[in-house]
Symmetry: D2
Subunit: 400 residues, 4 copies
C-alpha cells in the first residue's frame, strides 16, 4: 500500500480490551461489555445472558464477553444401524436457516420407514505434516530413508507427550528439496489437532537433534490442511472417514417424497456432471448443513466445516426398483472429549445423543453421517419435485 | 443393504417430536424438552435458558427446543482502511477453540501498528445454476442461443419475484446434452440464496413455458455449489470477492512477532508448495477460523464456511525489507439482512460492528476479510517461531 | 546446490551443435548427424531417412537432424453425423502402443452399426491471459473498469496484428493486487496460440501506453494454462469444446462387445466414483490415446495433449435398454492451418480426412471427438468383460 | 439421439480396411494405402516412405499403412549432474513447433554455464487400481482387512506373471460400498502398464477365487488414472517422480537471459497465483513441450503426456542474489524397454542419449527432467523480458 497517507489515523491511543487477573469471571465479562458499549455505542441486552459460570471457559476462549445464542431444533427419530450408534436418535441441530430442520426431519422419516441408515467408520486418523528442507532433492530423499529406518524412535518420542495419541505411520511426500512428512495418529475421543501438534513437535525436535543437514523446518506447511479442504484428505482421510448408506423402496419414495427412484437417480447423474465440471469437493447436495448444525450444537470446532464438508456420493438404481444411496465423508473431524465438548449446552447436546464421555467419538461420527444422508435424500427429492423453493418460502421467510 | 435382518427393530411406534399449534413459544419448547428427557434419559439444564421470546424464531428454525450458548470473545482494536469499514473495530468471535481470539488479537495489534488493513470488495454476485437437458448437444446449444436472445425477458421474469435482487448476467456451461445456466444476481444486504432460488425458478418457469424441447430440468445440479467449495466459485465469485492487504515493516514484525519478513516469506513459499501438492482450496493458513467465529456470532449461515473458506494468499518481500501480505476470499457469503441476522444476540454482534441494517453488507465483508488477514499473519509467524504449540498448550488446555 | 564440487567437469570447451548459413538443408542435417556420431558414438541409420526437402521445415524446428518415424495405423470406417464431418472416415492414428488401433476399430464397428457418432462443437475460443499488477487491489479493480470501458480500443489494437483472429471478449479475474485478463479470440483454422500471443501483446502495449499505474505486467502468468490442464479451461473452453454422443442398442452391445448396456452403465458409476476420489481431470477412460495418435499423425502440437486430454463423460441407461454415451472435450486444441499441419506426412493425413486447407478445423475437431468416443466405448466394455489384458497380451507383446 | 433419421445413410456395404494373413509387411501396407486412395481420393506420397521392414511393428500397431515423419531437432549440450545421467547430452526433440528447440537450447546454455542440472529420482512405481464392490461399506472394509492379511499371497500371485515386476505394496481407498486397491509395482526398464495390468489381473483372479462376497469387480475404475492427470498421482507418483534443480548466478542470468533473478522470482510469484486460481495441475511454464518432444522421439507412449505434464515448481531467491529453481515431475512415465522403444528411429534416439537397453530408465527420466528445467527457465525469462512473442515471430512463422 503505497499511499499510506490515505489510512485513517488510528484513535490515539489504541484502546485495549480490558483483562482482569481473574479473567474467566462474570465481572471480567461485564467490564469488557461496558468497554464495548463505550467504544461502539451499542447496548447489547442478550449477549451477556448466559447460564453458566465463566470459569468453565478457561481453555476455550479469550476475552470472553458473553454468548451467541444459536437456536436448536430437534430432528428425529433417526434410525441408525451403526456399529456404535444403534437405534433411534433425536438430533439437536443449531442453525438459523429456516427449513433446515424440517428437511432433515423429512429425510429421517423416509429412512426410518426404509429400515434406517447403515453407518460405517472405515478410517480414523489425525495428522500433523511438518516440512523439512535440504540442500537438494537428494538430501530430502536421504532424510526420508533415515526417517523410515528410525520410525520406532520417532514413534516413541511422539507418543511420550500424549496419553491417548498413537502414531500409526508416517507418509512421505517429496517435492523440490523438501520432504513433507504426514504423521498419522489415532487420538481417542479427541479431535486431536492439539495432541498431534504437540506430539509431532516433540518428535521433530528429536529428529532435529539427531539428523544433520536440515536447512528449514516448519511444523506445518499446508500439507495437513487443517481448516482447509484438500484432495489429499479426500483420498487419505482426516479425522473419521465414515459412510452412511440406505436402500429406499420405490413405493416409500413415492409416498414420502413424491418422486420415483428413477427420477432421483436421473437427477443424480446430472448433479455428478455439474459437480465434475464445477470442480466441487463434494458431489452431494448439502452435507455442510447437517455438519455445521451438529458441530455448533455439540461443541465441535465449526471451522472444521471447511474440511468436513467434502463428500463422495454414490447411488445405484437397483433391479427391484429401489434406490441405494450412500455418502462417504472422508474428513469428518469430531470429538466427544476436549475442545468445546465439555461446555454446558454443548455437553448437553452430546448427552441427548448418548455421546458424552469416553469411547463415544465413533458413535458421534456415525450420527453425523446418518443425519447427513437424510438431508441428502430430502433435498435431492425436493429439487426433482420442484418443492424446494416453496419449502423455503413457507419455512424460511425470515426477513426482519 | 442386503441383510436387513441385522437392522435393529425400530421402536414401535415411531415417537414424533411434539409440535403445537402455537409452535414458536416457550411452552412448545418446554414440551419438546420434556419429550427429549423422556426418550433420551438426559436432563439438559442449560439448553433451555435463552433470553428471548421464541416468537422471533419463525423462519429460522423448526422444532425449537433451546439454544447453543457459544462463547464470544472480543478481538481488537482492528484498524481497517476499507471503503465501507473505516477506523477501528472490536470483533466478536464465537468459538470454543482456545487460543483463537488471542491469536487474532495478536495479528490485530501488529497490523494496527502497521497502519491497518486495506480491504476491497472486487465482486459481489450470488447464483442459482439450473440445468436443462435436451435430445442432443445440438439441442442444448440451440437453447443457449435462445437464452442469449431472450435475456431481457428472462431478467424481467427473474426480477419480478424480488425487491432487491437484480439479474446481472447468465453464464452458460455446456456439457453432454445439457446446458447449465449460471444466473448471477446482486442481492442487496441479503446473502441471497433464497432470493436467487425464487427468482431463478420463476425465470425458469417462464423459459419452460416458452421453449419447446426441454427434456430435463433441475433448478440446481451442483454448478452453483451452494454449501460446497468449487473451483468455479474460486474463479468466478460467489457472494463477495474481497481482498485484504497490508504491508508490515521489518522492525514491527521482529518486535511483535519475533520474526523477520524474510523468514515469513520463506515459509510462505513452502506453504505454497505444500498446498499445491495437497490440492488445497486455500493456500493460506486458517481463514476458516475467523470466518466460522464471525459467522456464528453474527447470524450468518455457518454451513457457508464450506465455500467461504477458500482463499488465495499472495505475499511479497519488498525491497525495503517490509512484507506485503494479502488474502483474497473469492466466495465469502455474508448478510446483514435476512437469515439469522435479526435474532437477538446475532443482531447485537452486528451492532457492535456497526453492521446491522440496510447498506452494511460490504462493510461486514471487509471486516471479515480484515480479521482473516490478522490471523493469517499471526499463525504464519507462530509456525515460523515455533510458538504455535506452546500457545495452544497455554491457552487451549481444555480437557474436561 | 551447495556442493558444486560434485558437478562433473563439463567438457572443455563446450561443443556446439553445428549450424549452417543455409540451415534447412540436407547438408546441414548431415553435418549435425556427423557431429552427433562423433560426440555420442552412436550411428543412427533411420533418423536421417526422410522423404522431403528440409526447406519445408523453416518455422517448425531448429537444429533439424532427421525424423522420428512413428507408425500409422488406420481405423475405420468411422461413421460421423457431424455438422462439419459427415459420412465415413478412415482415421490415421500414429502410435506405438499395440492394441490401440484395434480397440478404436472395434468401437467404430459398434457405433457404425448403431447409426454413427453425433458430434457438436459448442464453443471455439483461444486465449492469452496477461496479468497486471498495481499498488493495491483497488488499483486492480479500477483498471478492470477502465478495460471494460475501453474494450473497443483494445479490440481494435488486438485485431490490427492478425488477419484471422477476432477478439470476442475479455474476462477479468481479480486476485490480490493483480488483475488477470483472459483475452478470448476466435482464430480461424489455426490453433492460434501464436496469433493470440501476438495480438494480445499488441493490445497490452496499447494499454500500457494509455493507462498509468501498472507496476507489473506479464503477457502470461499461468491463467491461460497453455500446455497445462486447468479447471478454468474445463469450465470455459480452450480451443474447441466438442461433444460426441451415440446411442447403442442393447443387442448391438451384446453382439459386438459381449456386454449389456446395464453392465456398462454400472461400471461407469464406479469409474465416476473412482475418478472423483482420485481428482481426475477426465472421468472417461483414455481419450488421450486417440488425441495423441491423431495429433502426431496430423501435425498438431502434441504437447497440447496436456490440456486436450481433459474430458467430461456422461452416460444414460435409457428406458428401452439402450445406452446413451457422450464425451465432452472442453479444451481440444486443433488446427488445419499453420503449425505442423503443412508438413508432408502431416498434411497427407489431414487430406485422408478431407481436413487440409481452409475452413476445416471444426471438421477435424469433430473427427477427433468421434474417434475418442469409439475408444471410450471399446475400452469401457473390455474392462467389464475382462478382455482388456488378454487383448494387450495378443496385440501388444512388443518387448524387443 | 432421438431423430436417427438425420444420420446420413452409411455406405452400403461397410468397406473394411484390408488385412492380410502376413499383415506386418510392405505389401499389406501398400494394399491398405491403395484402399485409402480409393475411398478418400487422396494420394499420399510421403506416409508410405519408411526405412524399415514392417515386420518390426508387430506388437506396436495394427493396420499399418506408413509413418508420420516428425522432424527432430537437437538441443544441447545439456550438462546433467544426475545419479544415472552424468555429463553432457545432446537431446533429440521431435516437434513441429518452431522456437521450441531454440528455447530449450537457450536454457541449456544458461544452465551449462551455471554448472549443470542436478537430477534426482525420488520415487519409482507403476499402478493398476482395481475396484471391488460389496453389499455394504462394512463388507468393503472387511475385505480390506483380508487383503492386508493376505498380502504375501497376493504378491506371490501378482509376481508369478512377470519377470521384472515386483509388487511393492497395496494402498486402500474406501468409498461407498467399494474398496479401490492401488497395486504399486516396480517395473524395471518398462513403463509397465501392461505388466502391471497382467499381474494385477492374476492377483485379482486369485482374490476372487479365495474371497466370497465380491459383488462387482473392475480391473480399472479411474483410480490408477492411466492417460489422465489426477491429484492422486501428483501426490503418490505414477512412473517416476523426478526433481531437476539448478542454481543460477545473477550475472549469468543477466548475460544469457537479460533478466535478473529478482525479476524472474517476482514473475514466478504471479504465476503461482494465476495457476492456483486457474486450478492447474502444473504451476510451471510448459513442461509438456519437452516431454512430448522427447516422448515422440524416443518411442514413449505420447498419450502419457496427459499425466506426465503435471509438475510442481519451487524457486528461491538466495541471499547471494542467485536463483534456485526446481521442478518436480510427479508422474513421469518413461521406458527404455518395451512399447515403442525398440522401433528403428526411436531406438536410435535412445542410443543418442545412451539410454537404450537394460538399466537405463532412470537415466532417461533424469534427462527428461533436466531438459524440462532448461525450458522452464528459458520461457520464464522470455515472458519477463517480453522476448517471447518476438521469438515466435522469428522462428515460428510456419504458415504454408
Amino acid at each position: 500500500m503505497a499511499d499510506t497517507a490515505s489510512v485513517p489515523a488510528g484513535p490515539a491511543p489504541r484502546r485495549l480490551v480490558p483483562r482482569l487477573p481473574a479473567d474467566y469471571t462474570a465481572e471480567a465479562a461485564r467490564r469488557r461489555m461496558a468497554f464495548l458499549r463505550d467504544v461502539t455505542g451499542a447496548s447489547p441486552q442478550h449477549i451477556g445472558r448466559y447460564s453458566f459460570d465463566p470459569a468453565v471457559l478457561a481453555g476455550n476462549i479469550e476475552n470472553f464477553v458473553g454468548v451467541a445464542q444459536v437456536p436448536i431444533g430437534i430432528a428425529g427419530p433417526l434410525l441408525i444401524d451403526g456399529e456404535y450408534a444403534r437405534g433411534t436418535f433425536y438430533v439437536p441441530l443449531a442453525t438459523t436457516e429456516g427449513t433446515l430442520v424440517a428437511s432433515y426431519n423429512r429425510g429421517m422419516k423416509l429412512l426410518y420407514a426404509a429400515g434406517g441408515v447403515r453407518t460405517t467408520v472405515t478410517a480414523d486418523v489425525m495428522q500433523r505434516a511438518p516440512a523439512f528442507g535440504f540442500d537438494s532433492a537428494r538430501g530430502a530423499r536421504a532424510f526420508g530413508e533415515w526417517v523410515t529406518a528410525h520410525f520406532a524412535d520417532i514413534k516413541r518420542e511422539a507418543e511420550a507427550s500424549t496419553h491417548t495419541g498413537r502414531l500409526h505411520d508416517i507418509e512421505q511426500f517429496p517435492a523440490s528439496r523438501f520432504l513433507f512428512l504426514r504423521f498419522n495418529f489415532t487420538t481417542g475421543d479427541a479431535a486431536g489437532q492439539n495432541l498431534t501438534g504437540k506430539a509431532t513437535r516433540r518428535a521433530c525436535q528429536w529428529i532435529q537433534a539427531h539428523y544433520a543437514g536440515i536447512r528449514q523446518f516448519y511444523l506445518e506447511a499446508n500439507l495437513a490442511t487443517d481448516k482447509k479442504s484438500s484432495h489429499l484428505n479426500i483420498l487419505r482421510t482426516r479425522g473419521k472417514r465414515v459412510t452412511a448408506e440406505a436402500t429406499i423402496p420405490a413405493d416409500l419414495a413415492r409416498q414420502v417424497m413424491h418422486v420415483t427412484p428413477g427420477e432421483m437417480f436421473r437427477g443424480r447423474q446430472v448433479s455428478n456432471l455439474g459437480g465434475l465440471m464445477a470442480g466441487v469437493n463434494n458431489n452431494g447436495n448439502h452435507s455442510a448443513n447437517a455438519i455445521a448444525a451438529l458441530f455448533a450444537a455439540t461443541g465441535q470446532d465449526i471451522a472444521n466445516v471447511a474440511e468436513s464438508s467434502a463428500a463422495l456420493v454414490h447411488a445405484e438404481l437397483l433391479d427391484d426398483g429401489s434406490y441405494y444411496y450412500s455418502i462417504t465423508i472422508p474428513a469428518l473431524i469430531v470429538a466427544t472429549y476436549g475442545g468445546g465438548t465439555g461446555l454446558p449446552t454443548q455437553r448437553e447436546c452430546l448427552e441427548l445423543l448418548g455421546c458424552y464421555g469416553a469411547g463415544q467419538v465413533r458413535k458421534l461420527a456415525e450420527i453425523v453421517a446418518a443425519t447427513v444422508l437424510c438431508g441428502e435424500v430430502s433435498l435431492g427429492a425436493a429439487v426433482i419435485t420442484d418443492e424446494w423453493v416453496a419449502a423455503h418460502e413457507r419455512l424460511g421467510r425470515n426477513r426482519p
